[in-house]
């Protein structure tokens, strides 16, 4: 473990978590580095173009270089470019947030999203990471993940709300249900405002590679609405699969 690298990346993470530029003092404190050390790190990061000194120079902020690098990675993913127009179409049809997520370890990450134009919106931000068991997209990704992933997940089920699945047996049962019905729902399991429905997107080989989901407050979500959403999701997932496997 190269310590300087660890420190530098820690600084980038800290800066990304702040919604405003930070002073050296606070960066040093948050990162548990000495001021002189943090200073030198920030100079380096500035020279490399990852950080900028803003205002009178006493505050540091991330530049967009990190965003550029991360987004480039995702943009080069053929699935995302194929899916984006389909997400847009779906978004128009359901008037809710729609998201495309993939699994990484025991979390799901939102690769692309279209936010609803409705006034009330929940957070559907790009890059958002959530534990697999608490969001609809995550559940789909979990249900078709290798057994060891399911076991590892079951070993630690953090609770977010009353409705979060925290019992391993409940989780196993939920996984069964999802596999059988072909879609997952999550109702107030990550927070008290969010509901979601998700279906899998499969590769040519049948592997589940991503989840397509609808999310939002959806206060009127009953069985009929779920059925409609599932039908839309499956239709659009199939469109993505067709274009993707056709193109690849």
């Amino acid at each position: 473990m190269i310590k300087s690298v660890d420190k530098a990346l820690r600084l980038l993470e800290i800066l990304s978590q702040s919604d405003r530029p930070m002073r050296l003092r606070d960066i040093a404190e948050a990162s548990e580095l000495t001021r002189s050390n943090a200073f030198r790190m920030l100079q380096t990061l500035r020279d490399l173009g990852y950080v900028a000194q803003v205002g009178d120079g006493s505050h540091y902020d991330l530049t967009l270089k990190i965003f550029e690098i991360g987004a480039r990675k995702v943009a080069s993913n053929a699935l995302v470019s194929v899916a984006h127009p389909v997400l847009q179409r779906l978004s128009e049809r359901v008037s809710e947030n729609v998201m495309l997520s993939v699994r990484e370890g025991l979390t799901s990450v939102v690769l692309d999203r279209i936010e609803s134009r409705a006034f009330v919106r929940t957070f559907a931000y790009l890059g958002a990471r959530a534990p697999l068991h608490a969001v609809s997209g995550g559940k789909v990704l979990l249900a078709w993940a290798p057994d060891e992933v399911i076991r590892a997940m079951a070993a630690d089920l953090p609770r977010f709300t009353e409705a979060t699945i925290t019992d391993p047996d409940r989780l196993a049962q939920e996984v069964e249900t999802i596999r059988a019905q072909g879609y997952a729902t999550a109702i107030h399991e990550i927070n008290d405002a969010a509901r979601g429905v998700a279906v899998p997107i499969r590769s040519l080989h049948g592997d589940v590679v991503a989840a397509l989901s609808i999310s939002g407050p959806m206060e009127d979500m009953d069985a009929a609405l779920i059925a409609r959403f599932v039908a839309e999701l499956q239709d659009h997932a199939a469109r993505i699969e067709r274009t993707w496997t056709g193109a690849a």
Copy 2:
């Protein structure tokens, strides 16, 4: 300049530019590090969660952690969250790619975009960086940038196509035109397929903080179409400004 940090970030950049996982050998070569050095770097980056060994372990790939960090930075930008639903609405109305960009130094960076559902698409990917003088959004950002930015840009105008503005006087004139008419166009100036139209988005103080643009092949783009696009862009830019300044 802390060398290890430079090296580590170089590796991340190299990996982000590859559309497939890379072998140690090739990473070492591309980064001009010795194999043993690259190896150690990659181990560190793996332990920190930025890189994963994939396949049989002989290939390295970026995880989504960088994407998460970069996207978090952008998501915390109030303008982007306000603008997204407006982009979507605009996209529906014009059936072309729409983009939101900001200036960083002498380049523009795409913070958000909706890709056209039309079959033919040009590249409108997230995080895309372009020199200010060669894209419509960049031109808008340039036209209202501080004088020293315009001077610095004029000092070096890289050519991409026949149509690229490479003469400083032409650029000065173009800036005048853009300020006068309130919008910018770019026709085959970054590549031979792309056309764009852009308008500024202003803060409460009247500063231009971003550009809203429409881009695509748009082979039928004549004066009438430009006029229609400009009207749509200005309407939607005003929507963004209203919501944003109202919320902020």
